[in-house]
Structure formats: structure tokens, C-alpha cells
Symmetry: C2
Subunit: 345 residues, 2 copies
């Protein structure tokens, strides 16, 4: 095998971000149209005022989804939505999408059509055009690789790197729901395996289960921000958990972060389920992934514009770098935020 | 399982192209910047004179490559080259690339670095910037999904659809080599399996083995055509075999095709190996895939510009649609061209 070498470093030792840093450090940018390469939610491409955004994500069966509880239609929708979310995180509008599929022979044409129904719904919801892709055989599970292209003007593009001291930190929607939905689905799967006559009880968990199975991208918020003439100073979508995304913004903006525990938006169902599962609801909100909400920072002067917005919560402020990343608890203690991040390996 | 339905159609029954037709027929285009969606080598995006090209390809271990004879460095190079080839086929210049990887834990950091060495070489050769991607765990084999963005102006973009009667049909390089290289590699692998003390004899097959393991994209020809102020009327890259690509051009341009057997460019090594393997060299040239040469049509008035080009062969002409797709053999017989196309399922 070609990969056998004298010294061997396991990928788990350096982690996904460590691996990406190590690999990308050898590459330099040669083309003037490459305005932003690796290190944000999407690449930024263009020479004039009208820029293109470009991002890609790959979803693998058994790693990112489990077909025993993920309906194919939802999966198709989700594959598009998580990519659209990356364009939203740059304050852009998605326009085109490509879908590459690897299918094993257990998939029938009808099954692939189910998947594409969800893709079609999402393309309608987000007004994106399916412009290409690739279909191949898979030796094992289903693989879906999506690429998305968006548009943004030079004065509206938002990176992770420009948050400034005293900016206000905002999040959309509520947090931890997709993670708790996954716990419910895994529990019901285990119950079903133990006793196939048991029907899963999912109706009463509808909200959090849907957060997991059919997340949306917050394009509604992006359009509202445009209507309010509000351009965030930094933005990222919450795919790996709030804590992990706060670290990205802090690192790239070279700042510290202070958030308040009592400001974190958590739905009652997420809270109750966390308690039922003997989990700390705050940990779920901080480290549960896949909510696909937006985390962004704004100038204090813009706070008036969003302070009464029902679906945007101000959770803290940008601090000096030396202060690090902290959360003020309900008891007024200051605790350091831990990023758990990505753990597929 | 979600894919269980009352009626079940196997993907093999309708084939890859049939599946793509069936799925894409439900989608329509909503955005003015989508100039060309599904059905060419790359999507064409833009509103003004400067257009972006966008294409994607997914390579799976055990389907598209075999790591027992494919060095990781070559694989990285090939993954970039085959995508660049799609931009070349639109007469464009590649600029940005993304790489998404799914890796199982048998891959060490050092192995991934080997793969990226090849990616880096290709990025240098083709002057493209690596601008992003995605890294995930794979439950089984290695998956590489590449996206590429290129640039072309409105007056230079070449589709598959504008070949006209009496245009001259040209191909670059020679054909069938990558396919014969694969036969040699498979034979040596079988020999090695039967007797692990046997060392593979690959040196003397260097040219065709390299055609398989480390193909290039013909950006050199694209730059030359620009220098000659020659814009082909239609173009496609030869990934699935000449016959299959001729069918694409004929179908999309609504024309017939006549080619001459004695004009098909075949290297001596490809010819000799085909004979050794008891294969018809012409069948290898017509249906062997992965050469990544360019097939294009030009106006007769442009023939002067390329007629003495050492690496471009005029192999036939565009005919009336009613004539179908035919080859004139060395014995002056007319035979219908058969497209074998894609057979991974």
C-alpha cells in the first residue's frame, strides 16, 4: 500500500483543523480573482464589485447521516440547505448548486428520485439552480457531495476576520435543538432494534427532530439584514456548535469573546430533553452541532436595528484578545469556553 | 429503509445518462446568471462578458482508482487534472479548485500529505488556487470530490451544441493509451497476487501506464488555440471514450458525424499492447476512456491554422443528421459507431 511510511501520524492526533492547516500551508495564491481561499465559510472570487462565493460539503452515510431514520427526501433537502448556509454566512445569495452522488446498487431509481425531490424542494425554497454534478457507483454507502455558488457585492461580503472590540455578538434562532433531536432519534432506533414491534414515538419531539432531519439555512435573516442596511462585521454559520464557531471568529479577528449564559437561546423542548437525557442544556447549546443558525457580530451603532427582533438574540460582546473566550454564568461566575469541535475521526 | 417502494427500477436499466435525464427534467432555471446548467462539461455562470465556468467530479476508491497500483501523489494530480480538463473543454482557463476528502483511519497524516503533494504539483502546472474543501471520515474507502472554477469571456466559451455541417472534427494527442495502461496494470496486479515475489514489469510500458496514472489536461492546446485566434464550434473532453463523446456532440448539435479509421491517432505502444491483449486497437481508441484529450469541431475556414499541428489530428467531418454516426474503415466500408459509454453500475 502506498500509504505505508516509516513514520506514521494518526489524523486523530492533529484533528481535522490541524490537518487542514498542515496541508494548506504549502499552497499559495496565484490568481488575482482569488480574494479569499481556505479559512472562511466560502471562497470569495472576483475582480470587480460583483463577487462569487463558492463552497462545498460532502455527506457520507454512516458518518453524517443514518438512513434508518433519515428519510431520503429530508436528506436531499438538508444536503442543499447546509451548503446554502455557508453562502448565508458570507452575507451572500446562493444561485447555483451541483450535486455529485455515489450510489450502491441497493438504491433504486425510485429511491434516487426521492432524494432529488428533497433537493428540488430546497432549490425552490432557496431559489438556486441545479447546474450539474456527477453520478457514480459506490462500493459501500451513499455519498453526496454538494457545491454551491453564490453572489455578493464587495461592500456586503462578510468574513470571519473583522469583528472588533465592543461589537455585539448575535445568534439567530435557538441552539442545541438539532443535537437533542439526534439523541431522540438514536434512542428510538435503539428501542426499535431491541423490539421491532415498538413504533417510534417521534410526534411529540417534532420540533427538535425536524431541526436534525430537515434544517434550514437562514436566508430569511440575510434578506432582513439587507432590508435593515445592516452589514455584520463578522459572521459564520453554526454547524459544529456555538463554542467552536466563537473560536473561529476570535482567532481570525484576533479578539476575545464574552458571552452570557442567560442570553443563550434554547427552546423549551431542547432544555427539557437535555434534562431527561441527564445532559447540561448549556453544554448542548454550546457544543451541539448542526443547528445551521448564524453567529454574527455588529457595531454597537447597529444594535437599535435588531434589538427587538424576535429571532435574533444578543448573547455577548467582543472583548480584548487578552481576555480570551469566556462565559458569564447565571451565578455571575466567569468560565472559560471550551471548544469541542469536530470529532468524526 | 426509505428506499423500499412498491415498484423498483434498477439504475442499470436506464444507465447513468438515463438517470441524469430523468432527475434533471424536473428542474428549471430561475436565475439570470445561470447561462448553462446540466449537459455540458461545465456550468456557465455570469451576466456580463466575463463568465465563470464550474464543474465537479467525484473519484471513489475501488471504482475510479485502485490504491494497490495508483500512487497517492499521482492520484492527487489526476483528481485535479480531470477537473481542469472539463474547464479546457469549455475553452476556459481554470482558476480555483476545492478538494473534499473522505478518509478512513488507515490513512495517516503522511499519506494524506503524499496525496496533497500531487494536488500541489497539479495546482502549479495549471496555475489554479486551492480555495477550500472539506475533510471527513470515511466508513470504507477513500473518496475525493473536486470542484473547479474557471474563467472565459462570452465570445470564447465553447459548448457541445454548436457544431455545424461540414465542420472538421479534431482530436488532440492519441487515443486508447490510458485504457491499455489500465490493462497492463491489472495484468501485473494479477501476476503479483499469484506470486508476490514477482516484481511488476512496468518500465517498458511507461507511456501508457502514465496515461492511466497521471493524465494531463490539454491546457497547452487551449492556449495555442487562443494564440491562433481559433474558437472551435463545439468541444468536449474525452473521458468516456471517443465514440461516447462523438454521440454527445452529435446529439446536442443535432448533426451527424463521419470519421475515418485511418485518421484516428493511436500510439505504437497502444497498438502493440492491444494486439498482445487480443483486442482490436480501433475499439480501444474508440471506447477506451480516461485519455482526457480534447475533441472539437472547427469551421473549414480555420483548418489552415491547425493542419500542420503535430498534436492535433483531423479525423472526420460533421455530417447531416440523417447520416447518423459512421466510421469509414481502412477498407472503405462504412460502419455505424457504437457508443459504449459509462458502465460503473
Amino acid at each position: 500500500m502506498s500509504e505505508q511510511k516509516d513514520s506514521r501520524t494518526e489524523i486523530g492526533e492533529i484533528g481535522e483543523f490541524g490537518l487542514i492547516d498542515r496541508l494548506s500551508s504549502k499552497f499559495s495564491t496565484k490568481n488575482s480573482s482569488t480574494l479569499k481561499g481556505i479559512g472562511d465559510d466560502a471562497a470569495v472570487i472576483g475582480n470587480g464589485d460583483d463577487l462569487r462565493l463558492y463552497s462545498t460539503d460532502m455527506l457520507l452515510e454512516g458518518v453524517h447521516f443514518d438512513l434508518s431514520y433519515m428519510p431520503l427526501q429530508h436528506l436531499g433537502y438538508k444536503a442543499v440547505a447546509v451548503n446554502v448556509s455557508d453562502i448565508a454566512a458570507m452575507n451572500g445569495i446562493p444561485k447555483q448548486i451541483t450535486i455529485s452522488l455515489a450510489l450502491s446498487n441497493r438504491f433504486s431509481v425510485e429511491a434516487v428520485e426521492e432524494l432529488y425531490k428533497g433537493i428540488h424542494f430546497a432549490c425552490e425554497d432557496f431559489s438556486v439552480d441545479l447546474v450539474g454534478g456527477d453520478t457514480a457507483a459506490s462500493p459501500s454507502g451513499l455519498v453526496i457531495s454538494v457545491g454551491v455558488i453564490g453572489e455578493v457585492t464587495k461592500d456586503k461580503v462578510v468574513y470571519r476576520k473583522n469583528a472588533e472590540e465592543n461589537d455585539i455578538i448575535c445568534v439567530t434562532g435557538d441552539l442545541g435543538g438539532a443535537f437533542m433531536g439526534l439523541q431522540v432519534l438514536e434512542r428510538e432506533k435503539a428501542v426499535f432494534k431491541a423490539n421491532p414491534e415498538m413504533q417510534p414515538e417521534l410526534e411529540k419531539y417534532d420540533y427538535i427532530v425536524k431541526r436534525q432531519l430537515k434544517p434550514t439555512a437562514r436566508m430569511d435573516v440575510i434578506h432582513e439584514l439587507r432590508d435593515l442596511s445592516l452589514v455584520p462585521t463578522a459572521m459564520i454559520d453554526i454547524s459544529d456548535g456555538l463554542a467552536s464557531e466563537l473560536f473561529h471568529i476570535a482567532k481570525q479577528s484576533d479578539v476575545g469573546i464574552t458571552i452570557y449564559e442567560d442570553k443563550l437561546p434554547i427552546s423549551k423542548m431542547t432544555y427539557d430533553m437535555a434534562v431527561e437525557f441527564n445532559m447540561d442544556p448549556m453544554t448542548c447549546a454550546l457544543n451541539g452541532g448542526e443547528d445551521y443558525e448564524l453567529l454574527f457580530t455588529i457595531s454597537q451603532k447597529d444594535f437599535e436595528k435588531i434589538k427587538n427582533h424576535a429571532d435574533i438574540a444578543a448573547i455577548g460582546f467582543v472583548n480584548k484578545k487578552a481576555n480570551g473566550l469566556n462565559m458569564i454564568t447565571k451565578n455571575d461566575n466567569t468560565v472559560a469556553i471550551q471548544a469541542q469541535g469536530w470529532k468524526h475521526f
